[in-house]
C-alpha cells in the first residue's frame, strides 16, 4: 500500500511544481499591474512592493488618479477598445456558429459528391495566416468602405472561425444517434425540421465549446486587426496594447493592467464551459 501512496505523492509534487511554473508569468503580470512604474524599472529589483494599489485600473476606466510622472494609461481609449473587441468577438462568434453549424450538418448527415473535397478545402483555408490576408483585405475593404470598421472585423473573423466550427460541430452532430432524427421524420418532420427540433437542442455543449474557441480566436486576433484598423472606431485590445509602448519609455504597469482586463472575459468564458471545451477537443480528436 505504501507503494501507491508514494507514487501518488510523487505525482502530486510534480504536478504542483509544474503548475507553479506555468502560473509565474500570470502572477507576475497581476503583481506588476499594481506596483509603481518606478519600482518596475529599477535595479536592484524591488521584490516586495509597499506601494501597491489599483490606480492603473482606475486610470484605464477613466477615474481620476494621482499622477505618477509618466504614462498611466489615462490617455488610452480603453472604453473604445473594449466596445470594438467585444462587438467583433461576439458578432463573429454568432455568425461563425450559425454558418459553421449549417456546414457541419451538411458534412455529418449527407453523403454527396465533392463532400470530402469541400471539407478538405475548408481545412486548408486554416493553413493561411491572417498576415497573408491582411493587405488584400485592406484593399478590398477600403473599396467596400468597411475598412477600419467593426463590421469589417466581424466579416473577417467569421471566415477565420468557420472551418474550425464546422469541424468541431460535425464531430458533435455525428455523436447523435441517427435513430432520433429518423423517428422524428417518421412522425412527419422534414429532414430540416428534425435538424432544428431534434439535433440542434442536443448539440448545446458542442455550440458552447465551438463558441469559446471562436470567441477567443477573435478576441485575441492581431495580424488582421493591426492592418485593417487605424482609429478608435475599430481598434481592438491586441492592437491597443501598443499604445503603452509608443513613447520612449514603456508604461509596463498600464500595459499589464489592460492585459489583465483583457484576460477577465476570456477566463470567465472558459471556466463556465470548461467541461464542454474538453469534450469538444477530444471529440474533434477521435471523430469529425
Amino acid at each position: 500500500m505504501s507503494y501507491f501512496k508514494r507514487r501518488h505523492l510523487f505525482s502530486k509534487i510534480i504536478t504542483y511544481i509544474v503548475l507553479l511554473i506555468f502560473l509565474i508569468p500570470v502572477l507576475w503580470l497581476i503583481y506588476t499591474s499594481m506596483k509603481p512604474n518606478i519600482e518596475i524599472n529599477t535595479r536592484p529589483p524591488v521584490w516586495f512592493s509597499k506601494n501597491m494599489n489599483f490606480d492603473s485600473y482606475l486610470a484605464l476606466l477613466g477615474f481620476p488618479v494621482k499622477h505618477e510622472g509618466f504614462g498611466f494609461g489615462e490617455n488610452v481609449p480603453f472604453g473604445d477598445y473594449f466596445r470594438n473587441s467585444i462587438l467583433a468577438a461576439l458578432g463573429s462568434t454568432f455568425f461563425a456558429l450559425i454558418i459553421g453549424t449549417l456546414a457541419a450538418y451538411s458534412f455529418s448527415s449527407f453523403k454527396f459528391k465533392g463532400r470530402n473535397g469541400i471539407f478538405l478545402t475548408l481545412m486548408l483555408a486554416r493553413a493561411i495566416p491572417g498576415i497573408a490576408l491582411s493587405l488584400p483585405l485592406l484593399v478590398l475593404f477600403t473599396k467596400m468602405k468597411i475598412a477600419d470598421t467593426v463590421p469589417g472585423l466581424i466579416i473577417a473573423y467569421t471566415a477565420m472561425n468557420v472551418p474550425f466550427t464546422a469541424w468541431l460541430m460535425s464531430g458533435f452532430i455525428g455523436e447523435i444517434p441517427k435513430e432520433l432524427s429518423e423517428a422524428a421524420m417518421i412522425d412527419g418532420c422534414s429532414k430540416w425540421e428534425s435538424f432544428v427540433k431534434v439535433e440542434i437542442p442536443l448539440v448545446g455543449p458542442g455550440l458552447a465549446a465551438s463558441g469559446i474557441f471562436a470567441f477567443l480566436a477573435a478576441w485575441n486576433e492581431f495580424a488582421i486587426a493591426s492592418v485593417i484598423t487605424r482609429t478608435t472606431a475599430a481598434k481592438t485590445f491586441p492592437v491597443g496594447l501598443f499604445d503603452f509602448t509608443a513613447e520612449f519609455v514603456s508604461d509596463w504597469r498600464g500595459m499589464c493592467a489592460m492585459s489583465v482586463m483583457m484576460l477577465i472575459p476570456a477566463i470567465i468564458f472558459v471556466i463556465t464551459v470548461q467541461k464542454q471545451l474538453v469534450k469538444g477537443l477530444t471529440l474533434g480528436a477521435i471523430k469529425g
Binding site: 502530486k12 456546414a103 497573408a132 471566415a159 464546422a166 412527419g188 485575441n220 485590445f237 472558459v270
Partner: protein
C-alpha cells in the same frame, strides 16, 4: 393515421421533398460558408497571386506592371528567405515535440491527482487564454536585459548585475521565443491528453497492477498507445498553427536583430510592409501558403489513415 401514411409512403419510394433534398440541401447548407470563405480567404489569395507577378509597391504612383516570374526568381536567390524557411521548420519541430513530451508527462502526473483536478485543469488552461501578442509582450519583458524578471533573479543569485541580452544574442533569442511558445501552448496538449487518459478503461490499468507492472511500464505500454489518436490530432493542429507563427515573434524580436530570429511570416511582413515591396511579399506568402497547404494535406491524409487503422 398520419404517421402510418408516411411509413407506407416510405416503402413506396421517397416523396418528392426527400429526393430533392438529397441532391440540393447539402449544398444549400454549405453555401454561406463557401461565400464568406471566398470573400475573406479566396479573393485575397487570388489578389496576391496576381500581384505577385507585378512590380507593385505600396508607394508606387503608376499602375502595377507585369514582370513575370521576376519576384519568384529574386526570392530563390535570397539567402534570408531560405534560412527563414528552414528556421520555421526547426522552430515547428522543436516546439511541437517539446510541447508533446511536456504535455504527456504533465497530463500523466495530473491524472493521478483525483481531488481538485477541475481546479488544476483551470489553472493549467490559463496560458491558452492569453493573446499571442500578450505572451509576446509578457516574455519580452520577463527576458528584458536591464530589469527583466530572469536577469533580476540572476542578480539575486550572483549578487551583482547580470545583463544577459536574451533577445539579442544569437542562439538565445531563438530559445527565448521557443520558451514563450512552449509556455503558451503546452496546456493545449495537456488538456487533450488528460481527457484521453481519463477515457482509458480502468480495468486495463487494474489488470496490469495485478500483473505487477511498474508505473513506467504502464505509461509506455498502456497510456501512450491508447492516446495515439489524441497525439496525432494534437500534433497536427499544433504543427499547422506553429507554421503560421507570426504574432509572438513579431512582438518579441520582430525577426531581428539582423534576421537572427526571422521566421517566414515575419519576413513576409518585413518585405511587404516595412520595405513596402508588396509584390515581393505576395510572391513569398504565395510560396509559403502552397507549402503549408501541401503540409496540411499530408497531415490530414495521415490522420484519415490512422483513423481507418483504428476502426
Amino acid at each position: 393515421m398520419h404517421s402510418q401514411n408516411i411509413v407506407l409512403d416510405k416503402g413506396a419510394g421517397d416523396n418528392k421533398f426527400f429526393s430533392e433534398s438529397k441532391t440540393r440541401l447539402p449544398f444549400v447548407l454549405l453555401l454561406p460558408s463557401l461565400v464568406v470563405m471566398f470573400f475573406v480567404v479566396g479573393y485575397p489569395m487570388l489578389y496576391s497571386f496576381v500581384i505577385s507577378f507585378t512590380n507593385y509597391t505600396l508607394v508606387s504612383s503608376g499602375g502595377p506592371k507585369f514582370v513575370g516570374f521576376k519576384n519568384y526568381i529574386t526570392l530563390f536567390k535570397d539567402p534570408v528567405f531560405g534560412r527563414a524557411l528552414l528556421r520555421t521548420v526547426f522552430y515547428m519541430l522543436i516546439a511541437v515535440n517539446a510541447e508533446f513530451i511536456l504535455g504527456l508527462l504533465i497530463a500523466n502526473a495530473m491524472s493521478h491527482v483525483i481531488r481538485g483536478q477541475g481546479i488544476l485543469r483551470t489553472i493549467i488552461m490559463m496560458p491558452m487564454m492569453f493573446a499571442p501578442v500578450l505572451v509576446g509582450f509578457q516574455f519580452k519583458w520577463i527576458f528584458n536585459d536591464q530589469v527583466g524578471l530572469v536577469n533580476n533573479i540572476l542578480y539575486e543569485i550572483f549578487g551583482h548585475p547580470v545583463i544577459i541580452p536574451w533577445l539579442i544574442k544569437k542562439p538565445l533569442g531563438f530559445i527565448t521565443i521557443l520558451i514563450a511558445e512552449i509556455w503558451m501552448n503546452t496546456p493545449f496538449m495537456v488538456i487533450i491528453f488528460l481527457a484521453g487518459i481519463m477515457a482509458i478503461p480502468t480495468e486495463i490499468l487494474e489488470a496490469s497492477d495485478v500483473d505487477g507492472a511498474t508505473e513506467w511500464q504502464k505509461f509506455i505500454h498502456i497510456t501512450v498507445p491508447s492516446l495515439m489518436p489524441f497525439i496525432y490530432i494534437a500534433m497536427a493542429v499544433r504543427s499547422l498553427d506553429i507554421a503560421k507563427a507570426y504574432d509572438l515573434v513579431s512582438i518579441m524580436t520582430g525577426g531581428g536583430p539582423a534576421h537572427r530570429t526571422e521566421l517566414i511570416w515575419t519576413y513576409v511582413y518585413r518585405l511587404a510592409f516595412t520595405s513596402q515591396k508588396f509584390a515581393l511579399g505576395s510572391a513569398m506568402s504565395y510560396i509559403t501558403v502552397l507549402l503549408a497547404v501541401l503540409f496540411t494535406y499530408y497531415l490530414f491524409r495521415q490522420l484519415i489513415r490512422v483513423r481507418k487503422v483504428r476502426e
